[in-house]
């Protein structure tokens, strides 16, 4: 029954997609075709119908959308030869023969023609021909390739994806020159007709994974896809989880490193953010920068990041718990200092913490949305409100300001924005638990989070791999950043079938040392 249902719905779907023009052939008369297309594009003032005569014999029409087409080339390479040459024997082959355009396609169906026009390809229709010619003379306005501001690095390439799928594909192709890099394109969105590219390396990525990604993408059927955020929400494993289960990045080098480990990447036209699946929690705590530095430094920075996760999640709540329930754990002199500063404060520690943390979050959010010139103003206001004034007014104790500040700094250490926002949100319920049950509440909160993480999966890969379930060979890239010469195998979870990444024994050895020093 299931397949029948699927088949029926897919039938229905194509029908709806081509609501305007069903699988209809072009007719032999130009006038008919032209008027049909004119009714379809009725009210679209940007669609140009340019009538002319080829070789002085046959009437033809050139249809294109203004602004999507390289007009200069269209005039030079298409109109000039067709108008100037006269007296040649006419056929569709000679026409395409005299046009110096490399990307030429012959089309039979109205539907295809509409698609091509919408994608910015000019269409040439001829009288007495059941075929149209699509000319690849698109010129789309696009942003230059720049460094993505959210993922800047000190040492590494400064290229980022742009809004144009073709450019993004070329950025990937430039880095992986092997024909094993495969690209599958599908079109999603009834009205937006958004092109989506699925990238993987054949022979490394698991076939089942590619199939699953395609299955989930094929299921999408809606009016429009406005960005990769839409796709992420539509294909992730568990929608009602705070944790991101798909990695989003604007950096082609990051995508390439994942592709080489057997992951699948999804790019969406009109959006510079690539999605990488499957992913584990630890991928969000790694940065491409780790591999640009020496492995020991990379490891230390990675540990710093792990500590910062603990701080973001637990510091405010631990402070609240200690002050409210476990004063005996604080060394006496420190306790006295804190008590002195809290003498004037009218609020309990939990309320104080909530007040400050919410103010901080608000300031941060405001800073993100504001133009850069105003951003500095916000930071001045923030420093005054959060720091100076609040303490001077006796509303907040200065140790609490420090706690909030340290938490804030720690949250900036997380290299991927989505995981940072998740942890920042989670610290609020843990703060409440700490206010109610002290350390016990914090532990309960941690247990609940771990249970949740243990039950999460990203495209079949458990979210906490390789820690839980333990994969020994992958631990070296999570517990520390292993040296590049030691990474002989690809991660087990994504490329079981083809595990060998490099030949062993790549560790540099100064074999020719004697030769070097011989003179």
């Amino acid at each position: 029954m299931g397949f029948l249902k699927n088949w029926l719905s897919s039938k229905k779907r194509t029908k709806q997609l081509n609501e305007i023009a069903a699988q209809q052939n072009l007719t032999a008369t130009l006038e008919e075709n032209r008027s049909f297309l004119a009714t379809i594009f009725k009210g679209c003032s940007d669609v140009v119908f340019h009538d002319f005569t080829i070789f002085g014999q046959i009437s033809a029409v050139l249809i294109y959308i203004e602004g999507l087409v390289d007009k200069e080339k269209l005039d030079q390479n298409v109109l000039t030869p067709l108008l100037n040459k006269t007296g040649e024997p006419f056929s569709i082959n000679t026409v395409s023969g005299v046009i110096p355009v490399s990307n030429i396609k012959e089309l039979n169906y109205i539907e295809e023609i509409i698609d091509e026009i919408s994608n910015g390809h000019p269409i040439l229709l001829l009288d007495h021909q059941k075929k149209g010619i699509s000319l690849g003379l698109t010129q789309l306005e696009h942003r230059a390739i720049e460094e993505p501001p959210a993922e800047s690095v000190i040492r590494g390439p400064r290229e980022g994806f742009t809004e144009l799928l073709t450019i993004n594909t070329s950025l990937l192709r430039r880095r992986i020159k092997s024909p094993q890099l495969k690209v599958k394109n599908i079109v999603v969105g009834r009205y937006t007709r958004t092109k989506i590219g699925v990238y993987y390396i054949e022979g490394i990525a698991e076939k089942s994974l590619i199939k699953e990604v395609m299955r989930r993408l094929d299921k999408i059927y809606m009016d429009g896809i406005l960005g990769s955020g839409y796709i992420e929400e539509l294909i992730e494993d568990q929608s009602n989880s705070l944790f991101p289960q798909i990695l989003s990045t604007e950096r082609p080098d990051v995508v390439v490193s994942y592709l080489l480990e057997g992951h699948v990447t999804i790019l969406c036209d009109g959006n510079p953010v690539a999605l990488v699946v499957p992913i584990t929690l630890f991928s969000f705590l790694q940065s491409s920068e780790d591999y640009a530095q020496k492995f020991m430094i990379g490891s230390l920075i990675r540990w710093l990041r792990y500590i910062s996760v603990a701080i973001v999640l637990l510091l405010p709540s631990t402070y609240v718990a200690l002050l409210t329930y476990h004063q005996e754990m604080i060394p006496t002199s420190l306790l006295l200092t804190i008590a002195k500063s809290r003498e004037q404060i009218p609020f309990p520690a939990l309320f104080e913490a909530l007040l400050m943390e919410i103010t901080f979050e608000a300031l941060r959010e405001a800073g993100v949305r504001l133009p850069q010139q105003l951003g500095t103003a916000i930071s001045i206001v923030g420093a005054l409100v959060i720091g100076q004034a609040a303490t001077a007014a006796g509303l907040v104790s200065s140790p609490m300001v420090m706690v909030v500040a340290i938490t804030g700094v720690a949250s900036f250490l997380l290299p991927h924005y989505p995981i940072g926002i998740t942890l920042r949100i989670l610290r609020f319920p843990i703060m409440f638990l700490a206010g109610m049950l002290g350390l016990l509440g914090i532990i309960l909160g941690i247990i609940a989070i771990v249970i949740h993480l243990c039950s999460l999966r990203s495209f079949g890969v458990p979210y906490l791999t390789p820690i839980v379930p333990m994969v020994k060979q992958d631990l070296k890239d999570v517990l520390y950043r292993s040296p590049i010469w030691a990474r002989n195998k690809r991660p087990h979870s994504t490329s079981k079938q083809n595990p060998i990444r490099q030949s062993p024994g790549q560790k540099p050895e100064a074999e020719n040392e004697e030769e070097l020093h011989s003179d």
Partner: protein, 370 residues
Amino acid sequence: MIERGKISALQMAMILHSTIAATALLAMPSVTMKYAHQDMWLSPIWASLGGFLIVWITFQLHKFYPKESFIEYVPRIIGRFLGSIFAFLYLFFYWIILGDIVREYGEFLITNFLAHTPYSVISGSMLLVCAYAVRGGVEVIGRSAQFFVPIVMPLFLIVLLLLIPDLKPQNMLPMFEHGLKPSLIGAIPPLSAFYGEFFLISFLYPYVSDKQNKLRWGIYSVLSVVWTMLLVSFSTLLIFGKVGAHLTYPLIGVARYISLADFLEHLESIVAAIWVLSMFIKMTMIYYALSLGTAQWLKLTDYRPLIFPIGILSLVLSIWTVPNLQVLSQFINSTGTIYFLLMQYLIPLLLLIVAYFRRKQNQKKVAEQA
């Protein structure tokens, strides 16, 4: 099968380790010390024989019925009617155990840390978290154990390491003052109450994916529990001497001794936090066995609808069965010992014998027919 998840043998061992060590850490030293005095460090070693025995018995039973849990194969061994009654007795047994454990957990936190928080809030919140884990099934339980045990163990070791300056080895003397007898008697409570809990392994065996390593990792987990108990026994004995017998929770007292650089003091909250993590795995495991077993006993297709009612009933039962901690420890040391021994050693052993002869008879029948 109701449960579709799979765990690794390592995860099974980690679940069992926390299940047994969690309560043993706190309650074991004072109990063994009562009977074995300064020889109490020997008692866990004697008692461990019981642990090995149970792991072996349940493994043999599991080999007869490889895809079923205890509740499912009992009726196959001794007949449907009797088997169902026996299975129910086991469910009831685990219900009481869960109640006791919840009570122990709540009482411990109330007496030591949260004196003013209501009992039902403390135990209820923990049960709620456990229910969340049970909902995830054996896979989630195994993974959480694998996540927490590697955190708990080093912390536990660090706490014990920090104690080294306070240890007084002369507390062990005189050794074997009255022969081996006191230490053997002292082995009975850990044998029945702590090592007996290894019987829960019969609920995990069917879901372990690596077949060859099941028994091996079961034995490893007994060994790791012995090792943990030894460390706790020694640290209690060498710090408190004979006074330890009069403390309800010697380990917490031990943690109060830690002082490092006049800064790290009063680490008992950290010890308690570690303990809560192990306790969570213990309660989840029993809770899970109870929910799954009940569903299997009632032949339901899913155990999840049972989780919430069982949680509430356990919370209520934890208040009903015992009025206070003294009665609870009285029960564990007297009637409880026989109850635990009967349910976790004797009956499984008898069942194994019956199953063995049945199997032989069947084989004979098959041979005759052939």
